[in-house]
C-alpha cells in the first residue's frame, strides 16, 4: 500500500466525518483541528481509516500525531508491519 493510497483513504474519511472539511483541499501539513473537528470526530476518522486500511495503531501512539503527516507516518509504518507478519 502506497502513502498516496493511505492518504486517499484518510482524506475520504475526513470529508465524510468532518463537516468543516467538505469541499476543501486537504494537505499533509494540516491537522483535523484546522477543519474544526472535535475529539470524537478525529477518533472516528482514525478508527474508520484503520479498519479500511487493515492496520492497528495504539491510541497512545496516535496521541503523538500533531498533523496528518504524522498520522500517515504511523499508518505507513503499521502497514509495513502488517505485510511483514
Amino acid at each position: 500500500m502506497t502513502r498516496d493510497e493511505i492518504f486517499s483513504v484518510v482524506k475520504a474519511n475526513i470529508q465524510a466525518v468532518i463537516e468543516g472539511a467538505i469541499g476543501k483541499e486537504i494537505l499533509e501539513t494540516q491537522s483535523m483541528r484546522d477543519f474544526q473537528a472535535d475529539s470524537l470526530e478525529i477518533v472516528e476518522v482514525v478508527s474508520r481509516s484503520m479498519k479500511q486500511l487493515g492496520v492497528k495503531v495504539p491510541r497512545t501512539r496516535l496521541l503523538d500525531a500533531s498533523n496528518l503527516k504524522d498520522l500517515l507516518d504511523l499508518f505507513e509504518a503499521a502497514a509495513v508491519e502488517t505485510v511483514a507478519k
Binding site: A16, V17, I18, E19, I22, L40, E41, V43, E44, V46, S47, R48, S49, M50, K51, K56, P58, R59, T60, L62
Partner: protein, 176 residues
C-alpha cells in the same frame, strides 16, 4: 447544512439490529451455560459500582466471535422500580442500554492486551428500540455482539426477560 454521515448507522449494524428485534442474538443452548465470570470477576474488570452496576454474572464470553451473555438480578434494584413508576414498575430503557454497554465493555476489556477499566468510554448510542416492558422479579438477560471498528467497538445488544427480546440497542465504545 448537510447532516454529518458519522451520525448514520452503518448498514451492517442496522441489519444486525433489525434482526435482533426478532430473535435473541444467541440460542438458548449457548447462553444458558454456567457462570464463567462471577460478580467478583465483573467487579475486577468494570469500574462501575452499585447502584450503577447492571451485570451480576456472565454466562458466555466468546472473545474471538465478540459475543457475551450476562445476567442481572432485578431484585437488586427495588428503589428503581419504586420510582419508575410507583403505579407501574418498569425497568428503565436507559438502564437497559447501559447494561448492554457494560456487558460489551466487559468483553472489550477481556480481549484487551492491557486491562485498564478507566479507559472504557461510551461514545455513541446509534439507536434503540424498546419492544416489551421489563417487569420486576426476574433476571434480566443481556446479550451483546461486539464488532471491532478500528479504535472503536460497535455493539449490538439485547435485553431479554423470560427468553423474550425486550429491547435492542446499538452503541459504540472506545477503549484505550
Amino acid at each position: 447544512m448537510r447532516f454529518p454521515v458519522t451520525w448514520a448507522m452503518p448498514d451492517e449494524v442496522g441489519r444486525i439490529l433489525r434482526e435482533a428485534t426478532k430473535e435473541p442474538l444467541l440460542s438458548a443452548g449457548r447462553r444458558d451455560s454456567e457462570t464463567v465470570l462471577d460478580r467478583r470477576a465483573v467487579l475486577s474488570l468494570l469500574p462501575h459500582r452499585d447502584p450503577f452496576l447492571f451485570i451480576d454474572r456472565v454466562t458466555l464470553l466468546d472473545v474471538e466471535q465478540g459475543l457475551i451473555a450476562a445476567r442481572f438480578d432485578l431484585s437488586r434494584a427495588p428503589e428503581v422500580f419504586a420510582a419508575h413508576f410507583p403505579d407501574r414498575p418498569v425497568w428503565p430503557g436507559v438502564l437497559q442500554v447501559e447494561g448492554i454497554a457494560q456487558a460489551a465493555s466487559l468483553l472489550v476489556l477481556k480481549r484487551a492486551e492491557r486491562v485498564d477499566p478507566t479507559m472504557v468510554t461510551l461514545t455513541h448510542v446509534q439507536g434503540a428500540r424498546f419492544l416489551r416492558p421489563v417487569a420486576p422479579g426476574a433476571e434480566l438477560e443481556i446479550l451483546a455482539r461486539v464488532l471491532d471498528d478500528g479504535l472503536l467497538y460497535t455493539v449490538v445488544g439485547q435485553c431479554l426477560q423470560g427468553g423474550e427480546v425486550c429491547s435492542v440497542a446499538s452503541v459504540t465504545i472506545l477503549y484505550e
